[in-house]
Symmetry: D2
Amino acid sequence: MTIAPSDSALAPALRGYADHKPDHLARLHKIEGQVRGLTRMVDDDRYCIDVLTQITAATHALQEVALGLLDDHIRHCVQEAVRADQDTGETKYAELTIALRRALRL
Amino acid sequence: MTIAPSDSALAPALRGYADHKPDHLARLHKIEGQVRGLTRMVDDDRYCIDVLTQITAATHALQEVALGLLDDHIRHCVQEAVRADQDTGETKYAELTIALRRALRL
Amino acid sequence: MTIAPSDSALAPALRGYADHKPDHLARLHKIEGQVRGLTRMVDDDRYCIDVLTQITAATHALQEVALGLLDDHIRHCVQEAVRADQDTGETKYAELTIALRRALRL
Amino acid sequence: MTIAPSDSALAPALRGYADHKPDHLARLHKIEGQVRGLTRMVDDDRYCIDVLTQITAATHALQEVALGLLDDHIRHCVQEAVRADQDTGETKYAELTIALRRALRL
């Protein structure tokens, strides 16, 4: 089964993550600052292990955003899948598997 | 054995990653742009799976920077370890284990 | 909200992954063989990078099992959550977040 | 530069991880038991989240073996790289980058 590409090209709509949008945005702003901090650390010739520690923190923070989005996606989109007709439901579940695969870096 | 904390507090010095500093900085600038792009995607209510794909890309890019730094660290600092007296050498190796542990998120 | 520990202590029941149980078992048997192979490689003093390549393969295979279990869990348990009363539903979702967090190693 | 494939096909030799071989083997035996335990859990229809927790533990244990091997590899092989002529040294370093890339799953 293929995933209709049209959905991702849809005009902006309320997404499953709408409720937590301010949280996701706040986290992303913080991560942007962390990455800017990393640039500064390398520019200032900071100690390699300190830079690596900071990279790990930023990676972890990105994964937390992924977790939050997945969580919202599952609650909302899978709910729709359960309530939809079988074909739409299957499409939703197939999308979910793709989302999990992305998040697990598989 | 403990790692002397002083090293990371040293006045800026030439680091093991000095040779590749422009590469690391260029990558980090690109990642900062990716994270800013993520903020825009969430703000525009973009499709959850597209956002996750982009998070995976940014995470991957951060890991590539970590790899580059580790690589440089090993080449330069381990070289010093080999050439140093045994105590200094052991300190360098212990730092290396910490760096690997950070990079592997262990 | 806490997760009632009783569920995991329940007498064996049909789980969300019941349909794919043979697949999961087949994968796990293969992984057991991979780990046994790793033991043999180290015992035979095989080249370090070859051992690392094999560790990556086994790690990847374990993550595929995690993905399969999560996928099944979400389809079945979230379906129940949607159909259950609100409290049960919230418990199911909270469990799901824990499952995702485990799978993402967060 | 290409990595001569011959090295991995060499007759068994003392590897960089020789000193810690008993540790690596002990860990791998334990992991084999963990994977066998996973098979039993799935066979017994154990709760999905408990299975995922156990998969995470096994994955973590595999990464610890990877860390140990890398650590040994770097101490021994990079030492040789430092002491070798430049060409051999470069080959050793190129192998190291590959090993790190494997370990970081990049």
